[in-house]
């Protein structure tokens, strides 16, 4: 029978942890045997703490003072306290901290009587995180090869991570104890998460789905994959399954065929296996099977609303594309199973379709019972100022959405669109089964990202700050004497490379326009800071060119040439050198 023990035993002599005395148990982030370093020295002074009037701004002053008094009496340094107790402790003078056991008992009881259960839960979460951090600090860290360019902060990394971040790494949501504790727990287990959730429906997957449902209520998580590329691979698989169910005159003529995936020119569509890339040379196209027969003309433009000759060009391509799509849809020998559509072509320099064209594609697809699969790997999660980029085309919905990158988890979503044919809906096993597809820890991170985006209204922020970024980038282009072509949706903005622009921020994948893909937490002040740097660099380059030309002119004037002209040039050169010195970055 266990004996109750009212008085705490000396830890290293009586208690046992894991069958060993407490004192022999391995420390977590602490030196073994370390004792609390709390001063017990009496503090001089006769005035009682509760007799002192403190002038604190916070109205919780009274409770904070009680806690501060308790801390000071216990010899706890103020820097180990959190606000507002820290300020209260700092406001206490030496004379106000007398060592009076009865007084201490009173403030102690008061502190504990006011315990808020939620605060207790959060505090113990902080404790668990702090203990883990301490344990990690005591180990040799793994070498981390950061993708952020040297000298650049994470917040200023607007391209190099390829849109992988919707939030900066140091976002406060990633220090939430609830999240970190759950992450630590998941990392210790092996949680299988098959695409249908049939093997082990984990709480982390449920968390992700719940967070997703709040932002995309009509979407259902159909499959999870290791990456966005794997999700694109599934588009081919879906095309086969769906195409075999297409009906023509009440029959299923393609039941035994291998239906194809039609796609528009310019989509990235990076996937795996023999279909590594749909369009881009160097990104796997050379090792992909030839899919060119299924490539459709791409009536896209850098302009969101093309006008003039650009509109004529796009309209001509639209006609061509719809005709080609109709031929694919009516092809009986090699049937089409699905249409692959990247609503905003990100890798292709940020290009847009016209809404009328997208709706025409939707109508054609519905006429033939063919599904549309939207590639939102880069654009999903609010980057474009809407949860998904396809929402920018009023009245349009795809049947499936591929997601990845910034959402941290990847996979396929089914969109609950009204009036779908059977060949536009997925069935169980259409996408096969994996024993342990997906990653429970990434679901947790994805849920954390989605919650942060929703709770902080970051989609609206992306729309507002993105519009501002677009406008400011156009300012830079005008300053350079270039045609202002910066265009985008939300915080996905394409811009022609500006000579002398800060290439560490803006990096172009080849011949396309540069893309700016900053975190969704970006503020207008952040935009101003980067744009100012771009303008500064622009001015620097302009002045440097002028300086170079003037020096060449002065050197060309003979030594016995007109003094006045030489003096004027020297004066201007000196002025330029001063300006350049001020602009030096």
């Amino acid at each position: 029978m266990a004996r109750r023990n009212d008085i705490a035993p000396a830890s290293d002599t009586v208690d046992a942890v894991g069958g060993r005395p407490l004192g022999q148990v391995g420390q977590v982030g602490q030196v073994a045997g370390a004792r609390p370093a709390i001063s017990t020295a009496p503090v001089a002074g006769g005035q009682k703490p509760w007799q002192t009037r403190l002038e604190l701004k916070d109205k919780t002053t009274s409770a904070a003072v009680a806690k501060a008094v308790l801390a000071v009496m216990a010899g706890l340094p103020a820097d180990l306290l959190l606000e507002p107790v820290r300020s209260a402790a700092l406001a206490l003078t030496e004379g106000q901290t007398s060592q009076d056991p009865q007084a201490m008992q009173r403030v102690y009881q008061r502190c504990l009587q006011q315990l808020d259960p939620e605060a207790v839960a959060e505090s113990l979460g902080h404790l668990a995180v702090a203990v883990n951090d301490a344990a990690h600090a005591a180990t040799t860290p793994l070498r981390h090869r950061d993708e952020v360019p040297r000298g650049k902060s994470d917040a200023a990394d607007w391209h190099r991570t390829w849109g992988l971040r919707l939030l900066p790494d140091n976002d406060p949501c990633f220090r939430d104890p609830k999240y970190l504790v759950a992450l630590n727990q998941e990392s210790k287990g092996i949680r299988a998460t098959t695409h249908e959730g049939r093997t082990s429906l984990t709480s982390s997957r449920e968390r992700f789905e719940a967070a997703l449902a709040k932002l995309a209520p009509t979407a259902r998580l159909l499959a999870v994959t290791e990456s966005g590329s794997d999700a694109v691979s599934m588009a081919f698989q879906l095309a086969i399954a769906l195409g075999r169910r297409r009906q023509v005159d009440g029959e299923t003529p393609f039941a035994a065929a291998t239906p194809k995936l039609g796609f528009f020119d310019g989509v990235y569509g990076g996937s795996r296996g023999t279909r590594a890339s749909l369009n881009f040379e160097g990104w796997g196209e050379k090792t992909s099977e030839d899919l060119s027969a299924w490539r459709l003309p791409s009536p896209t433009s850098f302009q969101r609303t093309p006008v003039g000759p650009e509109l004529q060009r796009v309209m001509a391509l639209e006609t061509e594309a719809l005709a080609a799509l109709t031929r694919q849809l009516e092809n009986k020998k090699e049937p089409l199973g699905a249409i692959f559509l990247e609503p905003v072509q990100g890798a292709n320099g940020v290009r847009f379709y016209r809404t009328g064209f997208i709706l025409a594609v939707r109508a054609l697809a519905d006429k033939h019972g063919v599904a549309i699969i939207a590639d939102e790997v880069l654009t999903g999660g609010g980057r474009t100022g809407k949860m998904f980029a396809y929402e920018h085309y009023a009245g349009f919905e795809p049947d499936f959405v591929l997601f990845g990158k910034g959402l941290q988890a990847a996979g396929v979503l089914a969109v609950g669109r009204q009036g779908r044919a059977e060949s536009q809906k997925a069935r169980t096993f259409d996408l096969g089964v994996t024993t342990a597809g997906g990653d429970a820890t990434r679901f947790l991170k994805g849920a954390q990202v989605l919650d942060r985006i929703r709770e902080s209204n970051l989609i609206a922020n992306a729309a507002e700050v993105g519009a501002y970024l677009e406008q400011r980038l156009q300012d830079v282009q005008r300053r350079h004497g270039a045609t202002p072509d910066a265009s985008g949706v939300g915080l996905l903005v394409g811009v022609q490379r500006i000579a002398g622009a800060n290439v560490e921020v803006s990096h172009s994948p080849g011949k396309q326009r540069d893309r700016y893909m900053p975190p969704l937490t970006l503020t207008k002040a952040d935009v101003d800071a980067v744009v100012e740097a771009l303008l500064k660099k622009a001015d620097f380059n302009q002045l440097a060119t002028e300086h170079e030309n003037l020096v060449a002119r002065r050197n060309s004037i003979a030594r016995d040439g007109p003094t006045k002209a030489r003096d004027e040039l020297d004066a201007r050169i000196e002025q330029l050198e001063q300006q350049l010195g001020q602009l030096a970055i």
Binding site: A2, R3, R4, N5, A8, P9, S11, D15, V17, G18, L22, V25, Q27, V28, G29, Q30, V31, A32, A34, R35, P36, A37, K67, L70, A71, M73, A74, L76, D79, L80, L81, L82, V85, P101, M104, Q105, Y108, Q109, C111, L112, L115, D116, A119, V120, A121, E122, S123, L124, G125, L127, A128, A130, V131, N132, A134, P177, V181, A182, N184, Q185
Partner: protein, 105 residues
Amino acid sequence: MSGLDEAFCVVVPRLLRRRGGRSSALVAFVATGEPETGYWVVSLRDGDGRRGVETDVPDVVVEASAAVLALLLDGSLDTAGAIARGVLVVRGNSSALDELARLIA
């Protein structure tokens, strides 16, 4: 009933029951003095908290003065700083603390 009795025998068990999760871990809190001493265990299996006894074999032990534990529970303590300075000592298997935090979160 002391202040920490209330915390470990009432508040934390209530949080555990609210979630209803289970784990076999046993988490101990030791108050080394100022202004009280005591030894409490929180059983994640039973969803309960009580004064500890000699035969308890906790997975993890959190040890500090009673004042520090009070400030910890209240949310006024910089836990990382307190651990670094040795004001708060945690020994044993930290997974048990994770379990506790997860179950009451």
